[in-house]
């Protein structure tokens, strides 16, 4: 998109007023980028048809910095919600898209975010069908906040529920953990360190769909361990259904550079945020086939079986350490804080 022809370089309060400037912003950037039959109706809302059961999920994105290695807030806002819908066992179809922009944001940055949203939506096979743009005074936002809501049609073979989980079920993840959180951490003010760690932000819906096509209701659960990381999500799982989780530290996929960065900052990768990671709990009889299918997909090539469901220690996640000891993995409290020394 050529920014020179837009006629404005920064976004001001007028762009959120609902008047001519708002129309300008919408026509020249939003409608032009996301044009599709639903959005082009330019109604107050969008009228769509989805047959059967639906999954709906909403999420707000407030990340600093908005541009980081491996992505930006725009694609994150698509991937995050698309993945949440996919984790329900649904095929994401539509997204709503709402911006809260801080006055003074450079239009060039805004356009970059919008173009990333478009690219991520296309790659995920979803259409932006309705949206909103508000502008707040300088100091009352952090450049840009984005909310997306996703709508998906349930996969006909899906029967995703924690209630289906039983003793012996296997727990798998699709790849390296902690990449996204450490990529963001490496660029935060005051914590900058040199690394080539990139966010793993990506859409997981096609891999999830392939797994459901192949294995149907033998897949008990999908979860994406975003904030709070793998440790927190597993702890929630154990508590939701009063089962225990046994993990093996040695099997948890962790890229060397991410491991080193966690060591340096004193952070536990089990609690660092992910964006392109999901865990799945499957019937033990299919675990090797599930692993093989995942490893054949670009988004699962580092997949691993990391543990099992047990009834021996209900509500507890117990991890066997590299040296054979055992420890409880408890949920994260507040933000994970870097240690002094």
């Amino acid at each position: 998109m050529s920014i020179e022809n837009l006629g404005f370089e920064t976004i001001n309060l007028g762009h959120g007023s609902g008047g001519e400037l708002t129309r300008d912003l919408l026509d020249k950037i939003i409608f032009k980028t996301f044009s599709n039959p639903y959005l082009d109706q330019k109604h107050d809302g969008s009228i769509v048809q989805i047959d059967g059961k639906m999954a709906i999920s909403t999420d707000s994105f407030v990340i600093t910095p908005i541009f980081f290695k491996g992505g930006n807030i725009g694609e994150l806002a698509v991937h995050g919600t698309v993945n949440d819908v996919a984790m329900c066992g649904a095929i994401p179809k539509y997204l709503s898209l709402a911006f809260i922009v801080e006055e003074g944001m450079q239009v060039s940055e805004f356009v970059k975010v919008v173009e990333s949203i478009k690219k991520a939506a296309d790659e995920s096979g979803v259409l932006i069908i309705t949206g909103d743009t508000k502008v707040v005074e300088r100091g009352k936002g952090d450049k840009i906040f984005i909310n997306t809501t996703g709508f998906g049609a349930m996969h006909p073979k899906a029967n995703i529920s924690v209630q289906n989980i039983k003793e012996g079920d296997a727990i798998l993840v699709n790849g390296f953990i902690a990449q996204h959180g450490m990529a963001i951490m490496s660029e935060r003010e005051g914590l900058e360190f040199e690394s080539t760690i990139e966010s793993d932000s990506t859409n997981l819906n096609y891999l999830v769909n392939d797994l459901l096509d192949e294995f149907g209701d033998k897949i008990k659960l999908f979860r994406d361990p975003t904030r709070g990381g793998l440790g927190t999500v597993l702890h929630e799982l154990a508590n939701d259904v009063s089962v225990g989780v046994d993990l093996r530290e040695i099997d948890i996929p962790l890229e060397k550079q991410v491991a080193a960065a966690c060591e340096m900052l004193g952070l536990d990768p089990m609690y660092v945020a992910n964006e392109g990671v999901f865990l799945t709990v499957v019937d033990a009889s299919i675990k090797d086939e599930v692993l093989a299918l995942m490893q054949n997909d670009t988004k699962g090539k580092n997949a691993a079986i990391i543990g099992e469901i047990t009834l021996e220690h209900p509500n507890k996640v117990v991890m066997q350490s590299l040296i054979g000891g055992k420890r409880i993995v408890s949920p994260l409290v507040g933000e994970q804080l870097p240690r002094i020394c």
Binding site: E189, G190, L191, K256, A259, A260, E263, L265, G266, D268, N315, K316, V318, Q320, S321, L322, I323, G324, G325, K326, R327, I328, S330, V333, G334, L337, P338, R339, I340, C341
Partner: protein, 362 residues
């Protein structure tokens, strides 16, 4: 990963643990000084792999845990005065008498979490119309960087930078623990990182005076098991020596340039320890020549004094007299989400380490 994976090796650790089981014939109490070691022991599940006769007692070496309550209140006061306060991450959730730094931030205070005090000097340079204070806590390990930040500020003529100092020293703390009549400690694992800065010579008098083995120990699972093994071996053989398990990082003479930086800015003086009280010659204070970088003097907050929470037994835990699970509040009213005292906040704190990782908690 060199220097890490080798020290997390299952086979090597198991072999050493087997040896430890073989040589242990009597009950021994071994204190690991450093909070990083406590964290390593619990996180790797080492405690349950030790012989029943070897009991680990968690020492006072968590900088967050020994920083007295009134220092937190002083930092909160600075935030409320509009000063930019910069801090290491795990200090910010420690409760003060009224609020934590994090709560003061939520109320509008300008709090920055940093890894390096040098960053704070940069912030001072970029904000010449604001005062910037670095919350300089820690043992000998963090002292060189904190002292260096003062030297940087001096060199660049930065007048709006100062440090709120709560530096404490390991050897006087060990001496205070050994002088306590309730002390049951048979051997120490010395704090590896502290000794990487200071060297090991200052532990010789302790070994001689108290006839107690001290093994300077690292932080990886194999380091910890080897340190415990060396300590127990001495005890079983009736020896009391200073040994260095962590020789790959700790030189006998320490790090000369780091010590020089410390000695330029700081001198040894009395310090208050959370839960222990004031110990003479147990910390660093800013030398007269650098007083203008001392936030307590600069902002007139030296007189803030507050009592500790009476329900919290942090003092006894830090002295190794009680374990976290001996506390009636542990896991009940006192949790990481609502800590009564500092050892429940820092991931190195004995209480938090027990709460997060140990089997004894839920």
């Amino acid at each position: 990963m060199k220097y890490l994976s080798e020290y997390r090796n299952l086979e090597a650790t198991k072999k050493l643990l087997d040896e430890l089981h073989k040589i242990t014939t009597k009950p021994w109490n071994v204190m690991e000084i450093c909070g990083g070691q406590t964290h390593g022991l619990v996180k790797n599940g080492i405690l349950e792999l030790l012989p029943e006769n070897v009991r680990m007692i968690h020492g006072p070496g968590c900088p967050v845990c020994v920083t007295p309550l009134n220092l937190i209140d002083k930092a909160v006061e600075l935030l409320e005065q509009g000063v930019i306060v910069c801090s290491f991450g795990d200090m910010i959730r420690v409760p003060g008498s009224k609020k934590s730094l994090l709560e003061a931030k939520a109320e509008g205070g300008d709090l920055r979490v940093l890894y390096s005090p040098i960053e704070a000097v940069k912030i001072a340079k970029e904000n010449p119309d604001k005062e910037v204070v670095f919350f300089a806590v820690g043992f000998e390990t963090t002292a060189p960087a904190n002292a260096l930040s003062v030297l940087h500020a001096e060199k660049e003529g930065i007048e709006n930078y100062s440090i709120l100092v709560s530096h404490v020293l390991v050897p006087p703390a060990m001496e205070a623990i050994l002088d306590d009549e309730l002390c049951t400690i048979d051997a120490f694992l010395g704090a590896g990182h502290v000794c990487a800065i200071m060297g090991i010579q200052e532990y010789v008098p302790l070994v001689e005076k108290y006839k107690i083995p001290i093994v300077i120990t690292g932080f990886e699972p194999l380091d910890l098991v080897q340190g415990i093994y060396m300590a127990v071996k001495q005890l079983e053989e009736g020896k009391q020596e200073l040994e260095n398990q962590y020789a790959r990082a700790v030189k006998e003479e320490g790090n000369a340039s780091a010590i020089k930086v410390i000695q330029t800015v700081f001198e040894v003086g009395a310090r208050e320890w959370r839960g222990i009280g004031e110990i003479p010659n147990s910390g660093y204070v800013i030398k007269e020549a650098y007083k203008k970088y001392d936030a307590e003097t600069k902002f007139g907050i030296g007189n803030i004094k507050v009592p500790e929470n009476s329900k919290c037994i942090a003092g006894e835990i830090l002295r190794g007299i009680k374990k976290p699970i001996d506390c009636s509040e542990f896991g009940k009213t006192c949790k990481p989400s609502n800590p009564l005292g500092a050892p429940m906040v820092s991931s190195e704190g004995a209480c938090a380490a027990y709460y997060h990782f140990s089997n004894n908690t839920i």
